[in-house]
């Protein structure tokens, strides 16, 4: 294939993946929700879980977005420096978003700031959001897609703690968000926490934490231990599905971390709702692809 046909192929594949991921939840999320439903004993919690599973079945059957808020599209790319479409990729992703908006169909969610109008295409200034990591000596390209809905974007918060506040300060920062905004962000939530030096480094890590497969832990033992402590702690608060109370408040807590300045602890929280619409795809240099997040998906 020449470069132009490779480009068309990649755009079509991404558009189909966006559309698919707006209708079908990734394997790790669906499995976790089944596990949580089996454990739920609250009367209202059970009714909500039943409606959730009925909804996912209907969305599949009728081929419709399972949640009406299909979000702002975000892409996290690990792109090989030798990937043949590295220069074209941003434009291809934009075109894929426009295409999927029409074919899925997706809700129009891109509002230009200051001029305050909805573009009607889901693209806009710096939207979709694209975050790059360049991988040396590689000709492959790995893309995570994420639909950042309004409800689960609202609780997002970042701040810089003084070291005197310690990790105890971080724990309180996270828990306060859970009982204020988290309640309305469609629990059971996936909680992403970034620990770094400043607001933007922590914030980016907190979103990347949401893309890690559920059930995996931070490779630092202490961070992994804190993930478990927070998961158990937030579940003990008993927010329950949709915050109406129940045993399942979170699907998981993921921490991603970086080194910090001696005088600061940057912390950030991003949450994903139960309808966590992410996907993960890997392309080789010939644009053969493998979908990691949804086994058996046919685009």
């Amino acid at each position: 294939m020449n470069k132009q046909s490779l480009g068309i192929h990649m755009k079509d594949t991404i558009a189909k993946l966006i559309s698919y991921s707006s209708k079908v939840l990734p394997d790790d999320i669906y499995t976790k929700l089944e596990e949580l439903r089996a454990k739920e004993s609250d009367r209202l919690g059970i009714i909500i879980f039943d409606t959730m599973f009925e909804n996912q079945a209907l969305a599949r059957k009728l081929d419709r977005p399972c949640c009406q808020d299909t979000g702002i599209l975000q892409f996290f790319i690990n792109c090989g420096a030798d990937f043949p479409l590295i220069g074209e990729l941003e434009q291809l992703l934009k075109e894929a978003v426009v295409l999927a908006t029409d074919t899925a169909p997706l809700r129009h969610n891109s509002v230009e700031t200051f001029d305050e109008y909805n573009t009607g295409t889901n693209i806009g200034r710096r939207v979709p959001n694209i975050f790059w990591d360049i991988i040396p000596n590689s000709d492959a390209c790995e893309i995570y897609t994420y639909m950042a809905g309004g409800g689960c974007t609202l609780p997002g918060k970042a701040m810089v703690l003084m070291p005197g506040a310690g990790y105890e300060g971080l724990v309180k920062f996270v828990l306060d968000i859970m009982t204020s905004y988290g309640l309305n962000a469609c629990p059971p939530l996936l909680v992403g926490i970034g620990v770094a030096t400043s607001t933007e480094t922590a914030a980016l890590l907190s979103k990347k934490a949401l893309l890690r497969p559920l059930g995996t832990h931070n490779d630092n033992k202490k961070a992994a231990q804190l993930e478990t402590l927070l998961e158990d702690g937030i579940n003990e608060i008993g927010l329950g599905p949709q915050g109406v109370s129940g045993s399942s408040s979170v699907m998981g807590v993921h921490i991603e971390n970086a080194a910090r300045h001696p005088s600061t602890i940057g912390v950030a929280v991003n949450v994903g709702c139960w309808s966590h619409r992410k996907s993960h795809i890997k392309f080789d240099k010939d644009l053969n692809y493998k979908i990691i997040s949804h086994k058996g998906a046919v685009l």
Binding site: R64, Q68, N184, V244
Partner: protein, 205 residues
Amino acid sequence: MDKRILTTPIRSEDLEDINIGDIIYLRGHITTCRDVAHRRLIAAGRELPVDLDGGAIFHAGPIVRTVEGTEDKFEMVSVGPTTSMRMETFEKEFIEVTGVKLIVGKGGMGERTMKGCRDFKALHCIFPAGCAVVAAVSVEEIETAGWRDLGMPETLWTCRVKEFGPLIVSIDTHGRNLFEENKVVFNERKEQAAEKICKNVSFIK
């Protein structure tokens, strides 16, 4: 227990024996109505393009498509609730001015809405959020579309629904508020959880 179904137009007395935590369903009409529509009516004093007296509103921004071969007939693809708390500033006055009886959304609402529901007899309910196809298939027809200049999410789509639900009552007409009552319990448990976790995180030595 029989399914409790409210039918529009809803009268104040229909709501008397309904309490927080109850499950109800709606038959009749419901209009999507969110941020800008509330702002236009209450802050800018504009007249709503739809009569809501005895009616129901849905804090929601749907995905709608035109019915093939037509220009002004619409089909509900996917519709679910958005965060109700964003409408808190306006909702009490909104209930008073419109006579709306049922507000459906996501998450809790505050003190002012509770007073509006108590004084003017209305309910706030939540529909399980993220269950947008379940909601969409209960829409029989989109009858009107008001203020289309607001774009797809904010247009006032008036829908005829059959047994729309389950709706969990979060604010009733008696001054009770499920989410506010839960919050008290959640905050107590949060303190306990924080204390327990903090014993294990003294990493800075």
